[in-house]
Amino acid sequence: MSWLHIAILFPFLFAVFVPLLYKSFTPRIHTGWFVVSVPLFIFIYLFTFIPKISKGHTLYAVVEWLPSYDINFAAYVDGLSLLLGLLIAGIGTLVVIYSIYYLSKHREALNNFYVYLLLFMGAMLGVVFSDNIYVLYVFWEITSVSSFLLISYWYTRERSRYGAQKSMLITVFGGLSMLAGFIMLSMITDTNSIREMFEMVDIIQLHELFIPAMVLILLGAFTKSAQFPFSIWLPDAMEAPTPISAYLHSATMVKAGIYLVARLTPIFGGTYEWFWLVSGIGIITLLYGSLNAVKQADLKALLAYSTISQLGLIMSLLGLGSAALYYGNSTAETSLYAAAIFAGIFHLINHSTFKGCLFMVVGIIDHETGTRDIRRLGGLMHIMPVSFTLTLIGSFSMAGLPPFNGFLSKEMFFTAAANAASMNIFSMEKIGLAIPIIAWIASVFTFVYCMILVFKTFKGKNKLEKLDKHVHEGSIGLLVSPLILGALVIIFFFLPNTVAEYLLKPAFTAVLPTLADTIEVKHISAWHGFNLELFMTLGVIILGSILYVYLKKWYRVYRLYPQAMTLNNLYNFGLEYTQNISRKITDYYMTGSIRHYLVYIFAFIILVVGGSLWLFDGFKIDTSADSPISIYDIGIVTAVFFSAATVLFARNRMAAITAVGALGFLVSFFFVLFRAPDLALTQLVVETVTTALFLLCFYHLPALKEETRRLPFKLTNAVIAIGIGALVTIVALSANGNRMFASISTFYENSYKLAGAKNIVNAILVDFRGIDTMLEILVLSIAGLGVYTLIKLKLVGRGKDEKAE
């Protein structure tokens, strides 16, 4: 158990203490002050890895968990996982600090909140550092569960519950298909370790399960990263408290799918299907998200759709870059296309900084004004200057304007898209031009909604009288975290090559390990001269400004799309339809009548046991080893038969009970005949007492009425009864005929030596199999107590009255 494992498990362990801390220290000290130590320590610890990793070393530590199944807690630190780990821990620290001021310590159930948050943090660290695919899956699902818990944090609201259920259904569906894909991969490569799979890429790519595994794993990545058409859960997830939206649904959890795609690029990349699936879905998501973001009235929903769009951007960059693997080593095209991966990783960091900042500021606006509705906000610039500045920084970075880091990564995105147009593999010659065009259009709309976000909220007429609260700037505690993130936005613009040297390059090498030596990373700089990318950016600014200014004129285009065909509608309709159908089907056979259930059980027994006897040729009659029959045997058998028949056809209670009693005594006769004296004695006494019990009870029950039932009822019963009887006879005969090995009871004949007893049966009961007897008397005592409580305490069911008392 190395320090790395402890770091990953630290949030889980600390979460155990959070309820205690909450109970002891509220309301004096906000629990968050204790919790912030966890991500802070992890961040500092991971920070110490940067020098070593940036030189190209990697770290690998294993804790054996289930060695026989090859499932071990293997932690692997390389550039990619370190980068994401730093993101998780760093933004985690900022989010916890933010939440201290955002969530009131008086009103909120903070113990739940921080436990879920820590669960998520630990699970996310597990996802990025795990090398074993099954352990990765487990942590992946824990993130789904903790996200569910956090979205439904204010569980009394119906929208929260709905949003949580939607996110759970979609992401867990993706998780399960990802598991199926992982199982296929481990079947192909016979190993569970991702690093070892990197060595076997040739085998994997030629295997017939290659495409199914890829599709299934991509399903997992796409659902988690809210790609089209699985993006519908992200807007509804905005029901969560804003710190959570900032942490999970913009900076970390939704990046898990992107991490998966990046991590598995060496295995799947370079192929036609991967290229089109990842880039295609990415580009479509980019456009879809940006188009939808423009028409949102809720600030958080706007940010949600913009997150969807930006995730699509990163995903498409990863897809475009995978073409480098097709070209292999040392060709000109390799560096050209691999730059897309570099851009994708850079944008990943940038997006976390500016989107986290934006979410936090929107949270501040919500906290101070009481609303997130754009239509009710306006003119806040003078009242909340710091928030205005931060929103400006974040939005302009998202729109791709200098001097912010978003500008750099947007330029690199345009470069990659333009390069893609000139590709002549993967049938890109025909439609390759579509990619930069779609990218450019999506960027225009991105610009538009960024302007909406900044100017509609802060500029314009002051609508303060419509708001209920006294509006003022957020407290310094709330502003600290977005300030730090905003500062990072600017710092990354001015020092991109430091970032590239220490963080991006190692990550880049991790994603494309086979090409690491041959690729040279271009120096990032803001000014590359008057080239295509610059003109694209200028075009975006010009067209975007025009569209923004005349927003009200063309806004009506959005109403043209029919409401009934939205994905959300499809989801709701599908969910309701499935629930109704399953309820109908279940109600059909779960009738509440025990007799029906018994009929199902017995019929199934007949089918399964009888069927397997028939299928596996178990039926065999061998009467050669039978013991002889004498006259009194026949007599007793006949007597048993007649008593049983009497019970069946009896008309009054006494006859039936007497017949059963007689049956019991005849069985004890059988025991005498079959050399079982202990059994005969016990059966005699038990039968006496049982008959007395029957009589005692039936004194109170009504007389037997004639069984007036319809013929089909009687017939079904008869058929099943005869079926079971025949089945048991056949099983008994076959067991007799198929004597496969000698009886083990010869061991017990040594009981005098072993237990000092000459009564073998008693020796078995108290000595050899004493534990069975001990449990048996336990059962007896429970039954006795049950009888006592039923009678003495006269307990009745809920809501029912005693009728006949």
Binding site: V761, V766, L780, I791
Partner: protein, 141 residues
């Protein structure tokens, strides 16, 4: 309700009960080498008690035998479990029984086995359960 004429059953019971009790204890003890044992001993003992319930009314029997049979059941189960645990104290697996030959003053060379203690627990549990059941049902008129 007319007082039933129970002279016959009372006289028979007074004699029979003693015989049945003796037989029950004999069945119990001889279980080691001959048919018998905890179950049958306990059941016979219980049937003697049931005979008493049938003959005399519930109240007088309860007064004269002031044993709470539910507690008796529990005691029986505990004895059985403790027998098993006792072996664990001496570092043997749970429920290890042993036996030995000792020279007792009156009986001479006898075989004593820890299984008998376990059997006592079993018998007590069986007696307790059977009598609890009968008494509960019989009480509820």
């Amino acid at each position: 309700m007319k007082k039933p004429n129970d002279l016959l059953i009372r006289s028979v019971t007074k004699v029979a009960v003693v015989i049945i009790f003796t037989f029950a204890i004999n069945l119990f003890i001889s279980g080691h080498h001959y048919p018998g044992g905890g179950f049958i001993g306990g059941l016979t003992f219980a049937s003697a008690l049931i005979l008493l319930f049938l003959t005399f009314d519930m109240e007088s029997v309860r007064k004269n035998i002031p044993v709470d049979f539910k507690v008796l059941t529990a005691v029986g189960v505990i004895i059985a479990v403790l027998t098993g645990v006792g072996g664990m104290i001496l570092d043997y697996p749970f429920l290890t029984q042993t036996f030995g030959y000792f020279n007792l003053p009156i009986f001479g060379k006898t075989e004593l086995a820890t299984a008998v203690i376990f059997d006592i627990g079993v018998a007590l549990a069986v007696i307790g359960t059977a009598v609890t059941i009968i008494m509960s049902i019989g009480d509820d008129r």
